[in-house]
């Protein structure tokens, strides 16, 4: 005791140890009080929100942990989450939440309502990816349970892997708020649907490759042609009565002024993605093409890299936007009535000027089609107005003062397209 009294530092440390250690002993381990949420689904059901949490219960294990689903309804999102927490008897941690799926009905009203509770959470939820689905978000999250990884990894691979970069740009909660607070107030969100197929004897998916060794006991993914018109990636559950397959055609949902504006078809989405610098891949079909080498050929090209530059300016008090598109492409398929060895060699080695012109014309047609669509429906998902605001601020403000058309600015912009084609190996 005398020693302790002399050594005051040790004494103070001991006092604190006596005070804090019993507190620490009485605290239950966090894995027993908390679930780790990896995905959220929000469905609007009548006047309530049904929130489904996809979660794992952390515990020491060498094998992968299974994903569970739990859902409940509430007047607000937070109320529904609280009910799920009460049901599970655990607090939901959102630090590892990567994806938020919502159904079409949920975004028909104020979309910000869906996200507000997430933005206010202590953990950073800004990078949660937003996904729209037509019918039931809960079903989509459930179907994704059978994926080799999880829904986020699946979408992330589609959007960012070098081979699959054609499924649009993944947008997060943070992106929504940026667009909501910006001049365009418009955001394009990826749409992923599910297909329900009754019957089916096979426990695995109907695709080409059924892989094994996933983290879940269910079957694994099959990946067919992704992207392109009507292409889909699918995954099936093991149920023999009803298979739920994820169907990702690359469709986009346009949200404007906090509400759903429209859902673009796969083809329209693909056209719109030509404006998007972040979507590097696509494909292109030229039909019934003839030149000195080919006769009535249908040629498919693979766009494997792309850069988009935008230049905005005013001329005669009219807004103009020049889009410079540089694409790198290679031939992926040729169907020709007179297909022989020569055709193949010609296409691999040399593109004729006529073919270049045809490709250029096709791309410009597709961009003009997208332009018609966003002008007709009055949405600016390419952030054209923001470019005027940033780079031609003075003239932009003057223009808005003279023409009272801020809400429909995109409709009055004249677009010019310049396409540069680089042929790849």
């Amino acid at each position: 005791m005398k020693y302790l009294w002399k050594n005051k530092t040790l004494l103070i440390i001991l006092i604190f140890a006596f005070w804090l250690v019993p507190q620490a002993i009485s605290i239950p381990e966090q894995s027993r009080t908390e679930t780790i949420v990896t995905g959220v689904a929000i469905d609007k059901v009548e006047n309530d929100y049904e929130v489904t949490l996809q979660y794992i219960v952390p515990h020491a294990s060498t094998s992968s942990q299974s994903l569970n689903l739990s859902s409940d309804k509430g007047k607000t999102i937070d109320e529904a989450i609280s009910k799920v927490n009460a049901k599970l008897g655990k607090f939901s941690g959102f630090a590892h939440c990567r994806v938020l799926v919502f159904n079409e009905k949920a975004c028909e009203e104020n979309f910000t309502k869906l996200l507000d509770s997430f933005l206010r959470k202590k953990t950073n939820t800004n990078n949660i990816i937003l996904i729209n689905t037509k019918d039931s978000a809960k079903d989509l999250l459930g179907a994704s349970d059978n994926l080799d990884s999880n829904l986020y990894s699946y979408l992330n691979n589609n959007a960012h892997s070098d081979e699959l970069k054609n499924q649009g740009d993944l947008k997060s909660i943070g992106d929504y708020y940026v667009s909501y607070l910006g001049p365009s107030k418009t955001l394009a969100v990826n749409v992923v649907d599910i297909e329900k197929e009754s019957g089916g004897d096979s426990p695995s998916g109907s695709g080409d490759n059924s892989g094994g060794g996933g983290s879940n006991s269910s079957s694994n993914s099959s990946q067919g042609d992704n992207g392109g018109s009507g292409g889909s990636q699918s995954n099936s559950s093991q149920s023999s009565e009803e298979k739920k397959q994820i169907k990702n055609e690359g469709k986009l949902l346009i949200i404007k002024n906090q509400k759903k504006l429209l859902t673009l078809s796969a083809e329209d989405s693909k056209n719109l993605n030509l404006f998007n610098q972040n979507v590097k891949k696509s494909n292109l079909q030229i039909k019934d093409f003839s030149d000195e080498n080919l006769v009535n050929a249908d040629i498919t090209f693979d766009i494997y890299d792309k850069s988009v530059k935008t230049k905005v300016y005013f001329r005669n008090n009219e807004p103009y936007c020049d889009i410079y598109l540089k694409i790198h492409l290679r031939t992926s398929e040729v169907f020709s009535n007179s297909l022989d060895k020569t055709d193949y060699e010609v296409l691999q080695q040399k593109y004729t000027d006529k073919l270049f012109d045809e490709i250029r014309r096709e791309i410009i047609n597709r961009m003009q089609s997208a332009e018609r669509n966003f002008k007709d429906n009055n949405y600016d998902v390419i952030n054209c107005e923001e470019a005027f605001y940033k780079f031609k601020n003075g003239e932009y403000k003057k223009y808005l003062k003279l023409n009272n058309n801020k809400e429909e600015f995109i409709k009055y912009v004249h677009f010019n397209y310049y396409v540069d084609i680089a042929k790849g190996a």
Binding site: T9, I12, F16, L20, Q23, F91, R98, L119, K122, N124, N126, N127, I129, Y152, N156, H160, L170, S172, G174, Y177, V178, Y180, L181, G182, Y389, K390, F391, N393
Partner: protein, 368 residues
Amino acid sequence: MKKLVSQRQLILILIISLVALKVLLLPSLLAKEIGRDAYIYVLIALLFDFFMLLIFLFLFNKNPDLSFYQILEKMFGCMIARIMMFALFLFFLMKCWGAFVTNYSYLNENLYTSLKWYTYCFPILIIVFFIARLKVNALARLVEFFAPIVIIGFLVSLLVGIRKADYTNLLPILENGFFGNFSIFFKYSFWFGDYLIFIVFFGNTKVEKKFNITISTTILIAIVLIALFFATIFSVFSYNSVSHTNSISDILQVLPSTADIGSFDWVLILVWDMALFLYFAIYILGAFYSFRQTFGKKYDLITTSAILIVVLILAIIVNFDIELSISLAKKYFWIFSLSIEYGIPILLFLFSPMIKRRDKADEIFMEK
């Protein structure tokens, strides 16, 4: 006077005091009030701080063996010197209060679901009590050991941000004019003036080769990087910068494509908590030093305890509420902060010839 602190240690202390508090909440607050141009004002304020630091360097070089208090005493006499030291004590005390509450809020937001104030306060206050009681070189060695980790954390965060940033989000520059935002920015003077901690190291820092050029170049680089950090924050988060109240780790979390890197934000949170702790310890030392110069060295133990208790009481008064603390600092302390940050160095610069005259007068008196 015995030289206890090396040039390297001094630089690291200045860098920690420059960076630690500015890269958490301040970008979000400035984004809310000033918008995307905040980095310009931050750069200007930091450059002002840099010029004030140059004045201190000038004084330090002229009187390498005198403490700051001795310089003040020679210039203005004992009474005014003590008043000035007391004003500096209050300034440092405010900084301690800011760091203490920010650290609590930072931990509460990032690491704990609910952190009890006493669980946070007592261990940290006891550790800081012992640090303040040690000689200045003990803290300098502590900073020398941990500062490189903090600097690496800052640079990693900045580099990730630069890779993701779209700097066109900073356009149009100064849309609402240049001077309009100054009155708002002045209210944030509390966050600046960190160079003032240099006063603790007057007279006890070893002057090594190229002392002035090394300190001024390093601090200038740090200033540019901090301004770049602010510019990067707005470029990455754009209109949503306001909601990112923990910029240093949020910048890692915002990247969906690099979610794996995002997981490292935990490491960065811990590193930055260390930076806040060092910052708090540095300013407790500053407060302790200036208080001791004002009231003498008789009651060191009581003084140190009293300073920490005052900091604790201030934090309890505002209920550890960071927003309330900020609004109080903006409302009541900005003029005081501004006058201390820029008034004291300018006065010192103007009165610096007085030291020579007094020295000469002393010499004549001694000869007689």
